[in-house]
């Protein structure tokens, strides 16, 4: 049985071995945060104490590896800066995941004094047409979410005493694994003039650069690299930074395989051309 070098039976074990090796024996590399990530960090850093930040946790467990480290880092930053955080999601599959991130971060020793309903709240999932729900949030936020994820009435919550609608939110960050940033930009950012940024999976990154250059978003955190950048800025390296060596190794491996493959391809093409000349 002949196994070609492009055969998945060869490539897959190579990838698996490289990832396992990189995760078992990590090498810390210097990470210089990308400008788009620095912009998000700086904006949050400049927000006055008590400002309201909305985190839309619009992803499901499939994007966990990239977006959970990112969400955790941003949430930590907001709580560290004494900002008030409102979390919600448009992805029903990610509702419990969002809640678990908020609970886990709020239980960290430095944030134990933070109170749910005053310093942060996780509203959970809101069904319905996304554009309409955002528009309703723009009119009246606690009316759109009458209860939080724990079924506590929102109208009585201190956090909503001055944050009546989306217009009162000082910064909006959509952490997304799908097309929600498009609707957030159109109906949240543009319509209600809420400054916003996007955190997304790496494959969505190229699409989001369009929004960034059009200044519809003022920052972008893309993929695990973005999460690593944010962790470096926070000076708290965790899962994002830990995954960077594995990502570096895989990228280099792909390039090496592509180069080897092209050398073989060109050699085969030259050989066939010579054979063709010989046979007339």
């Amino acid at each position: 049985m002949q196994v070609r070098w492009t055969d998945p039976r060869l490539v897959f074990p190579l990838v698996a071995a490289a990832i396992v090796f990189a995760l078992l024996f990590p090498v810390r590399q210097p990470i210089k945060p990308q400008q788009a990530v620095v912009q998000v960090y700086d904006y949050i850093e400049r927000l006055p104490k008590g400002s309201a930040v909305m985190l839309a946790v619009d992803y499901d467990p499939q994007a966990k590896a990239e977006l959970v480290p990112m969400t955790t880092a941003v949430l930590r930053h907001c709580l560290r800066k004494d900002l008030r955080v409102i979390g919600m999601t448009f992805w029903p599959q990610g509702t419990a995941l969002g809640q678990s991130i908020f609970t886990a971060v709020a239980q960290e020793p430095q944030f134990r004094h933070k109170k749910a309903g005053s310093d942060y709240v996780y509203l959970g999932y809101k069904p319905g047409d996304m554009a309409q729900v955002i528009t309703n949030m723009g009119e009246n936020l606690p009316n759109t979410f009458r209860q939080d994820y724990q079924n506590r009435p929102t109208t009585a919550m201190p956090i909503f005493q001055d944050v009546k609608s989306l217009k009162d939110v000082d910064y909006l960050l959509d952490l997304a694994a799908g097309n929600t940033p498009e609707t957030w930009v159109q109906f949240g950012g543009d319509k209600y003039s809420v400054p916003m940024a996007v955190g997304c999976t790496a494959v969505m990154g190229p699409d989001m650069y369009v929004r960034l250059t059009a200044r519809q978003i003022n920052g972008l955190i893309a993929g695990l690299r973005g999460a690593a950048d944010y962790e470096v800025l926070l000076d708290r390296p965790e899962l994002g930074v830990a995954g960077m060596f594995a990502q570096s190794i895989i990228h280099v491996m792909i390039i090496v395989l592509v180069v080897v493959g092209n050398v073989a391809f060109l050699a085969t093409r030259r050989r066939r051309a010579r054979e063709g000349e010989r046979h007339g």
């Binding site: 490539v11 990308q34 079924n151 190229p206 369009v210 993929g223 060109l266």
Partner: protein
């Protein structure tokens, strides 16, 4: 020539009324987003409720469809029918624990740290993340097979991909200080230009199609070939 009364009524039912409805609701749906009045907000909330009700019914239909499909597979012992058994196990387990909700039942908020949450985190989240991580295997395999320097354009794409891949990881930064900048330039300039052109084209197409639908120029949705 006189048109028989029956045909006129049929034409109104099949053509005129649907076109008028499309015009009415098209303009209504468009306008409602731009009217800053509580009436518009209330109407949107009301419509949103309807969407949720229809969505709820769609969930029931979806569940019925899945149960029907997998029951048939098991009854007929079709190839891979064992997977259908796992479907029923998964459905019963997740729905059962969600409804039971650690003896608090489903009308209360989900219990923190309950069985449902445990299954969600230990099974659903883990399997979901595993499925997505398979991309990490497929992408290198696909890249190795497709990135071939067959032509000038293909070579350009290959080089661009290599620069972006290296520039986006810290190792690239260590190889050359210029790589991250080059990768960022590719993303900000040529990538944005191409994406923007595609988005503009698609948006203009959507606007044109919407206007054609609202004003009755596009009638293919009515059927009948008219």
């Amino acid at each position: 020539m006189r048109v028989p009364p029956g045909q006129t009524a049929m034409r109104a039912i099949k053509l005129t009324i649907p076109l008028l409805l499309a015009l009415l609701f098209g303009l209504f749906g468009f306008g409602i987003h731009y009217v800053p009045h509580p009436w518009a907000s209330d109407t949107k909330e009301f419509i949103s409720l309807w969407v949720r009700v229809i969505g709820g019914i769609a969930w029931i239909l979806g569940a019925y469809g899945l149960i029907h499909l997998h029951t048939g597979r098991i009854q007929k012992k079709q190839s891979g029918w064992g997977y259908s058994v796992f479907f029923f196990i998964g459905l019963a387990l997740m729905a059962g624990t969600a409804f039971y909700n650690d003896a608090r039942w489903f009308w209360n908020a989900q219990a923190q740290g309950g069985v449902y949450n445990y299954l969600n985190n230990a099974l659903f989240v883990s399997t979901g993340a595993t499925m997505f991580s398979l991309l990490g295997f497929f992408i290198p395999s696909a890249a190795v097979r497709t990135f071939r320097a067959r032509s000038f354009e293909a070579t350009l794409l290959l080089i661009t991909a290599a620069v972006v891949m290296l520039g986006m990881v810290p190792l690239g930064q260590m190889v050359s200080g210029y790589l991250p900048g080059a990768a960022e330039w590719i993303m900000l300039v040529p990538n944005t230009a191409a994406k923007r052109a595609i988005m503009l084209g698609v948006s203009l197409g959507v606007i044109a199609t919407s206007l054609r639908l609202i004003f009755g120029l596009e009638r293919s949705y009515l059927g009948g070939g008219e």
